[in-house]
């Protein structure tokens, strides 16, 4: 415990500690002009000190907010620490935010200084200059295009550092005083303010206190045994809690090296060159990787294809068991070892995953096949569940206890409970201290006894792992009172490659039903292989064999659901395949390709009626918008099909008979 009390409680304190302990170890890398540049912890401390002293010279005071806007660049990360070292509050903003959004955050947070990447961000700030009354100065990293700009309130990052160096030359005590101020810094200060992306309404500034942020990072660093020997590639948006937590916070606490890619478009290449030990990517990135592997293997020669298929099958059977250290027959182990040399090793090398010790995915549901594929190759991929309000981690999976359909048990020192209406609530070391200037919203998010409401519905599985099923407000009940979580059903259906989109209905109804959109590419391929001619999406969607195939998928889904006590009642009893693809142009999807369930329900009301009144077929006509904006109408007779339902206990009874 004595040791715990001496642990630093702010990130700048960690900077000083790391510069002492790991002075010659790399702290930061950045690929520039085609070559990896690196800075050791002591060099990084000097860079940060020079910038901080310069900033102080520009008038930065304790408590001032500083916007950080741009891509993952060493200088922007240094700015974060420099601001913290002066008691200021960094406010990272999404670099791709449009000028209006950017202006909202900058003015809402009363930002006094902004450290930005380039001309683009300077222009965005300038275009709202009249609204940003508290903004005193802007500091930029890349001078390109800024030659002719008014330089009175605009500074080059390196010039600010130079100012700092000059100040230190003039006053020999300046550097010591800076370190002294860091040592006297309080963990009670706000360490960072992260604006939530705000899917509903304006984004809110989540304030995180230094001691909480540090504590959270300490816990997960211990949990995943991260050390100064680890490395990461920081490629996710700077303003996202995940980047700040996984790369910055954990990096400072563990003392490992963070690398910044050459540009947003070179990430895959940079990843391959670096081969980091810790990696995070959302499920769609893994999906993209798998797709590109599959496509490239289809182009490979027959012999290579056979080797690939054989060893991937070996990996599928034994890979996860070997990864988790379970017992595996010696012959399988030998076969896996050959596979490692012939397939898995080279594959991981190409993907930059050779050295991965810990990899996480989060953000949305991940298909079990996809998840298992990477684990079978020997990539220790795990899931976590988190929120900005928790400073990321709420739950995370332990090595060896990993499943694709859960997000794991509570993270260390995190206390989770499920409210009476099924909402996940937590108390954690990294918990936020409130939304900036929005006490009302803070109060709405907190329970009277100090838990944070996540807004997500979930439950604990029998082995103590949390399962997130949907946004709490979307979860309904069947008329029998059983839980109905549409997104959970839809995700399960969508994991089948033939199903592109699904919309589940059932709130307040007797049973659950679904609309299904087939995946034109997958089903089209299948049709081609089976000599099924079709002229349009509509024709393919209505094909009896396609219906048969989808019915099989629905049946499998129901069988899986029946094994889950909470979900068994919400099996899909009837479904139909929509005659057209759901489309954002028709308002059926959002621009980010999420189904607008209420809108779809309204638009296809006759079809929903048919799902519940027992009819086999229903005529429907809808207006569609073509890509060039013209309107048209398409009509179809849509078939409705019953799907078998499984009783929760049925498989057991069958086995007994």
């Amino acid at each position: 415990m004595a040791e715990a009390q001496t642990l630093p409680d702010t990130f700048p304190k960690y900077l000083l500690r790391n510069a002492e302990m790991f002075g010659t170890r790399p702290a930061m890398r950045h690929k520039d002009r085609g070559i990896w540049q690196s800075w050791t912890w002591s060099q990084q401390r000097d860079e940060i000190r020079d910038f901080a002293t310069g900033l102080a010279g520009l008038g930065l005071k304790h408590g001032d907010k500083v916007a950080i806007i741009g891509a993952n660049r060493p200088k922007l990360y240094w700015a974060v620490c420099a601001v913290q070292s002066l008691g200021g509050v960094p406010v990272p903003v999404y670099a791709d935010a449009v000028a209006d959004e950017l202006a909202y955050v900058v003015s809402h947070a009363d930002v006094r200084f902004a450290v930005v990447q380039d001309q683009e961000q300077v222009d965005k700030l300038n275009s709202f200059a009249d609204r940003l009354t508290s903004l005193r100065a802007v500091i930029y990293d890349e001078p390109r295009g800024l030659v002719d700009y008014d330089k009175r309130a605009l500074h080059d990052f390196e010039d600010v550092q130079e100012m700092g160096r000059r100040a230190q030359m003039a006053d020999r005590q300046a550097a010591t005083r800076w370190e002294e101020a860091i040592r006297n810094g309080s963990g009670e200060d706000v360490s960072i303010m992260l604006y939530t992306s705000g899917t509903t309404g304006r984004s809110k500034g989540v304030m995180l206190k230094a001691k909480n942020a540090v504590k959270a990072a300490q816990d997960t660093v211990t949990f995943d045994r991260l050390t100064e020997k680890d490395s990461v590639l920081a490629y996710l948006p700077l303003a996202w809690v995940g980047d700040h937590y996984l790369n910055y916070a954990q990096g400072y606490v563990a003392g490992f090296c963070m690398a910044c890619p050459e540009s947003g478009q070179t990430v895959a290449q940079d990843l391959r060159e670096l081969a980091p030990t810790f990696y995070f990517a959302p499920p769609r990135v893994f999906e993209g990787l798998l797709t590109s592997i599959t496509i490239r293997m289809e182009d490979a020669g027959k012999f290579k294809q056979r080797i690939y298929r054989h060893y991937i099958e070996v990996a599928r059977k034994y890979g996860e068991a070997i990864l988790e250290g379970r017992s595996v027959p010696a012959s399988a182990r030998a076969s896996y070892a050959i596979g490692e040399i012939l397939v898995y090793g080279p594959l991981k090398n190409v993907l930059g995953l050779s050295n991965i010790r810990v990899a996480y995915t989060a953000g949305e549901a991940i298909g079990s096949d996809l998840f298992s594929f990477f684990r079978a190759l020997g990539v220790n991929l795990k899931q976590l569940y988190g929120q900005t309000e928790a400073f990321l981690y709420v739950t995370c999976q332990k090595d060896g206890e990993v499943r694709s359909d859960t997000v794991g048990p509570p993270a260390p020192n995190v206390d989770i409970r499920i409210s009476d209406d099924g909402e996940v609530q937590f108390r954690s070391p990294g918990m936020f201290s409130g939304y900036y200037l929005e006490e009302e919203k803070t109060a709405e998010t907190m329970t009277p006894d100090g838990y944070v409401k996540t807004g997500d519905a979930g439950f604990f599985d029998t082995d103590g792992q949390l399962k997130i099923i949907d946004r709490a407000k979307d979860v309904g009940k069947l008329s029998s009172g059983a839980l109905f979580a549409p997104k959970y059903l839809e995700n399960m259906l969508k994991f089948f490659p033939n199903i592109k989109e699904a919309v589940a209905f059932g709130d307040g109804r007797e049973f659950a039903t679904a609309f299904i959109n087939i995946d034109l590419q997958a089903v089209g391929n299948w049709a081609e292989r089976n000599n099924i001619a079709y002229a349009s999406y509509q024709e393919l969607a209505g094909h009896p064999l396609v219906y048969e195939m989808i019915a099989q998928n629905v049946e499998d889904t129901n069988r899986r659901l029946s094994a889950e006590p909470m979900m068994a009642a919400a099996q899909v009893r009837r479904f139909l395949i929509l005659h057209k693809e759901l489309d954002a142009d028709d308002g059926e999807l959002t621009r980010t390709q999420k189904v607008r369930r209420a809108f779809v329900a309204d638009r296809y009301a006759p079809l929903i009626e048919a799902l519940y009144d027992g009819s086999d077929v229903r005529f429907v006509e809808t207006e569609v918008t073509y890509e060039d904006g013209r309107k048209g109408r398409i009509s179809a007779n849509v078939k409705i099909v019953d799907a078998p339902v499984f009783g929760a206990a049925q498989p057991v009874r069958e086995a007994a008979e």
């Binding site: 002009r33 390109r144 295009g145 390196e158 540009s263």
Partner: protein, 275 residues
């Protein structure tokens, strides 16, 4: 410190002793004919150091011919061209290159099978001093020279934001990017006059915006003088300092964009008033 300075800007060679704003090149009474076809008739204009000079005109006005004359590809029957104070009549394109004139082409002329990096490196070859023997050995002084040139090329790659295609064969790249690589190759020669033949041709709006920004940046940051031919009037008016308008091989206007825009002869030429 192993971090090398992030922002050194290469400035075009300044050994010609010509100050910014003074005449870099002067075209005087130039006429060019192919047999009976008069491509250019008695044209005079100048290019001042540090400016962006546009040459515009409807199809067949003689723009590309003019560029080819400047470039030394055609020799005019009448008239003179003075570049950096030196008058010349007949000249080969490689002489133009040695004098510090680089160009891009209306239809991209890159080495399709070579990577972006190699294409831009090719632009440096004119500045490489080692003999072919050394180059083949690729050792000692030749290697040192290669590294030095590679550094300059990397600066250009960074400048044009084409890091992600450094190793991609240019034949595989979309058109807009090929145009950017071609600009990179021209920049690699560190020209004192850069000729751009329709840099925006065939580009979509976004690519045009990017290209405009690069042209402005090249001009501002590297101080390169630019003469460009362009069809897109909007682009020309936004980018250039002064505009020459050609029609049927003759000069019909010359001046700042605003003045040229309101010139009746120019409006007529573009709207197609019968001659």
């Amino acid at each position: 410190m192993n971090a090398h300075p992030d922002h050194h800007i290469i400035v075009a060679p300044d050994d010609d002793g010509i100050a910014r704003g003074e005449t870099l090149m002067e075209v005087k009474n130039v006429s060019l004919a192919f047999g009976g076809v008069k491509a250019i008739t008695d044209i005079s204009f100048d290019v001042r150091k540090g400016e962006i000079r546009a040459i515009i005109g409807p199809n067949g006005a003689g723009k590309t011919s003019m560029l080819n004359v400047i470039n030394g590809f055609y020799t005019p029957q009448v008239g003179t061209i003075t570049f950096r104070g030196q008058e010349r009549r007949a000249m080969k394109p490689h002489h133009a290159v040695r004098q510090g004139i680089a160009r891009t082409f209306q239809n991209v002329a890159l080495f399709k099978g070579m990577s972006t990096l190699d294409n831009i490196m090719a632009g440096r070859s004119v500045l490489m001093k080692r003999s072919i023997g050394w180059q083949m050995l690729w050792h000692g002084p030749a290697l040192a020279e290669e590294i030095e040139h590679r550094e300059k090329v990397e600066e250009i790659i960074d400048f044009l934001e084409i890091e992600h295609i450094r190793r991609t064969p240019v034949g595989k790249l979309p058109y807009g990017l090929q145009k950017r690589v071609e600009l990179g190759r021209a920049l690699a020669m560190e020209p004192s006059l850069l000729l751009l033949d329709e840099p925006m041709a065939g580009m979509n709006l976004e690519e045009k915006e990017d290209m405009s920004r690069f042209i402005l940046d090249v001009n501002q940051q590297r101080g390169t003088t630019i003469a460009l031919i362009e069809h897109d009037m909007g682009v020309v008016m936004d980018l250039s300092d002064r505009v020459v308008v050609l029609d049927y091989g003759k000069k019909i206007a010359d001046g700042p964009p605003d003045e040229v825009k309101n010139n009746q002869a120019v409006i007529d030429a573009y709207l197609g008033v019968p001659h």
